[in-house]
Amino acid sequence: MCAYIQSFPMLETVHAVEEGDGPRAELLDTLRKAKPTLRIVAVFTGSLYLKWTADVQEQQPFMVDDHE
């Protein structure tokens, strides 16, 4: 069992940038669990971007720092 991001032994941060619509909490969750020590910075743009950030701001910060 291994993940692509786990191929880099000293990886500290992953940036995920996409132009797409809709909530992406699942992707963030997947990244976080793939390597628990990672700092994950996600930027999602698209027509539903504002809606998504409004919906999830209480549960899921836009910029996730997984050292919490």
Binding site: M1, P9, V14, H15
Partner: protein, 405 residues
């Protein structure tokens, strides 16, 4: 008259017809400053910041100023540091606008502080502006610009033959350090000689060229003509033959940041000297298609401080592409490489998702040797990143079954 508050002048002006308003505005700079915004607003013209003593002049619909006989407004412009001018598409209006622009720019008192100049030509066939371009040549040499931006959209069927790119003025700017070209008119008759002269004879550190229609042979000629002693940052987009690109990179030894976008063509015949000598000794960041990254990294000096590499790949799993494996193998020599990024094409243009064999030996993956990489970046244009693309599908069962298909 100057004791009259500006607000009252504007109120009075609303009861005047255009002719009287223009006549009144021309009587003094104070009145002109006070009334001009209202006068322009009526004609959907925009004049930003100048009346407030700002450092930027933005003239949209430039021909309007000229056709309305607003020559008198030029002296009220505070000598700007930045200037943006858009030339309208009608040929006659474009000519009038450029005359107006030159009238302003040829006054040293107007341009003594001008450092940043942006000329946007929209929709006009540049072939019909050749004489205006010729008249403008001297401006680009004498203005104290540090930044010049030539943008717009226009026809592409007038691009000059390659031989024209070999000619060019022997003059350049003494001050220009940044040049952005994002329109074909920079290579149109009347201006191409100026463009080439500026490129050859100015101390340009930052060069960006995109949205131009140069053919591969024209790119070869164009890049072959450039030997830019001061160039540090370059961003090129186009149908560029790879040998010509590599030769260009070899010549410009001070390059630190390189961005290559577009369809860079390969060629079986590589220049022999490019194989034998390290290139880009000062390289810090590189973004390019995978094949170009390979070609550059294979020849780049290991002594460079390459910090960031962004690779444009056709899919997110380039593991099985020999060129990617070759690239990773070479990257281990660059001990300062901290950022590695992958740029993906729009989802619709992606190939069918590649499945990774379940028995793939991740422990033997070449990326294992890249212990210097601390940050990994994924960029997806017009689409969404797939969980399975970034994270191997063989994730623990408590996680993966919860993800949408």
């Amino acid at each position: 008259m100057q004791d009259v508050p500006a607000e009252l002048l504007i109120t009075i002006s609303t009861h005047m017809n255009d002719r009287d308003l223009r006549a009144l505005a021309a009587t003094s700079q104070f009145i002109c400053r006070s009334l001009l915004p209202e006068y322009l607003r009526r004609r959907d013209l925009v004049l930003k910041d100048t009346c407030a003593g700002g450092l930027k002049v933005q003239l949209l619909g430039l021909s309007g100023y000229a056709s309305l006989g607003l020559w008198s407004v030029a002296p009220i412009f505070h000598p700007p540091e930045e200037m943006y001018c858009s030339i309208p598409c009608s040929v006659q209006e474009a000519r009038t606008a450029m005359e107006f622009l030159m009238y302003f720019l040829l006054q040293p008192s107007n341009t003594r502080n001008l450092r940043d100049f942006h000329l946007s030509i929209r929709g006009t066939n540049p072939l019909l502006l050749t004489s205006e371009f010729i008249k403008m040549r001297r401006l680009f040499y004498i203005l104290p610009l540090t930044s010049l931006n030539l943008s717009g959209y226009d026809y592409a069927d007038y691009l000059p033959p390659s031989v024209t790119l070999r000619s060019g003025s022997s003059c350049g700017s003494y001050t220009l350090t940044s040049l952005v070209i994002s329109s074909d008119y920079a290579f149109a008759p009347g201006l191409v000689q100026t463009t080439m002269g500026i490129l050859r004879h100015s101390p340009i550190k930052n060069l960006m060229i995109y949205m131009v229609s140069l053919s591969p042979s024209q790119w070869s000629t164009f890049l072959g003509e450039l030997n830019m002693t001061f160039l540090e940052d370059v961003d090129l987009e186009g149908d560029i033959p790879r040998p010509a690109l590599i030769r260009f990179l070899i010549k410009n030894k001070l390059l630190r940041n390189v961005v290559i976008r577009g369809n860079v063509r390969s060629d079986r015949i590589q220049p022999s000297r490019s194989r034998s000598q390290p290139i880009l000794p000062n390289l810090l960041t590189l973004r390019a298609p995978l094949e170009v990254c390979c070609a550059i990294i294979e020849q780049a000096s290991h002594s460079s401080k390459l910090y960031e590499l962004q690779v444009e790949v056709s899919r997110l799993h380039p593991h099985h592409e020999p060129s990617f494996l070759r690239l990773v193998e070479k990257l281990r020599h660059f001990r300062n490489l901290d950022h590695l990024g992958f740029h993906l094409p729009p989802s619709s243009a992606s190939a069918i998702p590649q499945t990774i064999p379940h028995d793939y030996d991740w422990n033997g993956h070449p990326a294992r040797v890249l212990k210097q990489v601390r940050t990994l970046c994924f960029f997806q244009r017009r689409g969404r990143l797939s969980h399975g693309d970034i994270v191997c599908p063989h994730l623990p069962s408590p996680i993966y079954p919860t993800l949408p298909k």
